[in-house]
């Protein structure tokens, strides 16, 4: 019996998998990790009750699921703490990038996982602060702070600029609101 989700999953996997893996590579250090992340996101998205009218709509859900699952992973496995320690210990000489994509991936890797996730959702997915906070289980204040710090670091590393802040940055205590 062919169910509604099956052809949609096949189409998304067939047509959009490379794009999804490319996005995940902005978050995790290897292509294998990125593929794992994308597959987890696809399974969780299509296992849920949500229905999609088009592959594009489904892809949008999966893209957000990639980021939220990435943050879940880091939270649960203590990767964030380790990443912070690595950043603190970094001698300050980033590897020489050879392409635009690796240049960006390297710069993103220097951010903390939550900064990375917030920057990707705000600047690639064009999600609002509220949407980003909701997707990642963070307070809006924390999202603003992560985005502000992350964008500043990326601009410094990549020689880019960003439009005037779309949202005023209010420094508040960083706080998660989602339970374990």
């Amino acid at each position: 019996m062919v169910r509604g989700w099956e052809p949609m999953l096949e189409q998304v996997a067939r047509e959009r998998y490379p794009r999804l893996v490319a996005r995940a590579m902005l978050l995790v250090p290897s292509r294998a990790d990125a593929e794992d992340l994308v597959q987890e996101a696809l399974v969780s998205t299509f296992s849920a009750r949500a229905r999609f009218d088009s592959p594009g709509q489904a892809e949008q859900y999966v893209r957000r699921a990639i980021v939220s699952r990435f943050v879940d992973r880091t939270r649960k496995h203590g990767y964030e703490r380790q990443a912070l320690q690595r950043v603190a210990a970094r001698p300050g000489v980033p590897p020489v990038p050879d392409t635009l994509s690796t240049e960006l991936e390297s710069a993103l890797r220097a951010l903390t996982p939550r900064q990375r996730a917030c920057v990707v959702l705000r600047h690639l997915e064009d999600m609002s602060v509220r949407e980003t906070a909701s997707a990642l289980g963070l307070s809006e204040g924390a999202v603003k702070r992560y985005v502000f710090d992350g964008v500043a670091a990326l601009n410094a590393a990549l020689g880019t600029t960003s439009p005037a802040d779309r949202d005023p940055v209010v420094l508040v205590q960083t706080e998660e609101v989602r339970g374990a």
Partner: protein, 476 residues
Amino acid sequence: MRELADLMNDALAERSQSLTDLPTAQVGERLHRKVRFRRARRHTFEAGGVTAAVAVLGAATWLTVDRGDPAPAVSPTVSATPTPTSTPTPSTTPTPTSVAVAVADDILGLPPTYALPAGLLQRTTPGWVLSTYRSESYPSLGPVATHTVVLSSPAGELYRVVDLPTDSQVRLLAWEAGTTSALVSVEAPGSDDAARAVLDLTTGTISPDDRLLGATWYVGRTVSGAELWLDMPESETTGTLLRIEGDGAPEPVGEIVEDLAVDPAGRLAVTLPDAGMTTGTSFALLDLVDGNRSVRDVGVEGRRCHVVGWLDDQAVLLWCWDGSAADAWTADARPGLWRWDITADQPAVHVRDVVAGEPYVGPWSGEWVRDGVVAFGAGTVDVFGCWSGAYTWGDGTFTLVEGPGPRDDNVFWPRTSRGDVYVEAFPGCSGESEPGAVTVHRADGTSALLLPVPPATGEVPLWATGLSSWVVGTGR
């Protein structure tokens, strides 16, 4: 100077074009299998109702399980032999707890069962358990071997009540012992929408009720006997609590944020006060009769809390932790239990700190056992992982009710009835899941396996699904 967003989009396009050797076809096939399995598993999860749907520890794939000593389980008195065509000859005067005297039938996808003796349903009393088995083999998930309503005696003797269409999904929601009909939800073939319905246990006739369709979850009953349903799409965290009195139309009672816990009497529900919240320092109390809603600060300074469940009709058990800590389950968060008396205009009272190695009690996980005692499935403080067992909390003590059995169960969903704790347990939190089994742990200290997993056969060495819903018979 180049804009960051432009650079990000260009870099993304460049990376996408470089990924030309991905095994897309194989990935699609693998994902397809996993999604089918998850969806089938989710259907089994949902049989537990709202609390199950918001299982706090998630279907994760990590770390180890802290094992406790399993509570002793008493095997059912039925002994099965491979005689699929045998005709059971039950005694003519069944007792309230045990009637089987014949050899049980082995039917693919079911544990050993007897044919239902005439009149047995009408003689059942609270403590008998009604269940549905909808068994699919692993890993192909199909076809459905059987979809059958099975009745369990308090001793664990199993009787086949009625067969259901294998292309539908019928989940038991409520059943009054001694009666021949049950409240169910029904998913039509190929649909994820479930409808409220009444199942005639003598004929298998399903009478759908189009008053409730779609993403509605049965919650329970109010003090007046009205049914409570939660209308909350799976992708949403807010919903509307609905009340159905008899044949009347569903009436909205109030807004529910994330989840709710109904007091033992069915008068009040506690929920979160604002959309977007998952923890807080205040909670909303919703009157289930008149719909009045009040938001109350629990007054726990410097901490955030989540609701475990009701201790009695006047007090809620809270799990609170350091407000600046990221996670509620770590020892660093200095978690503890608080008692919040809703009738007193006083802060919640600190009951006990909980330290590393003790149970971590997730939000909305508590089931009232008797006044002052709550049952729940729990993880372990400072161990990120799955459920370590089913516990009760009472008199200042955690008591392990059921731990991982030979299958290394790591999901535990307790329900309670008349002071007894019924636990559905299965492996499934880490890795792929197997069917659940239900054991009753009685207040008198005895236990009995009531609903076992379908046995493996040469044809089906492993079942992906089996027990799909169950309810404990209630009194009138």
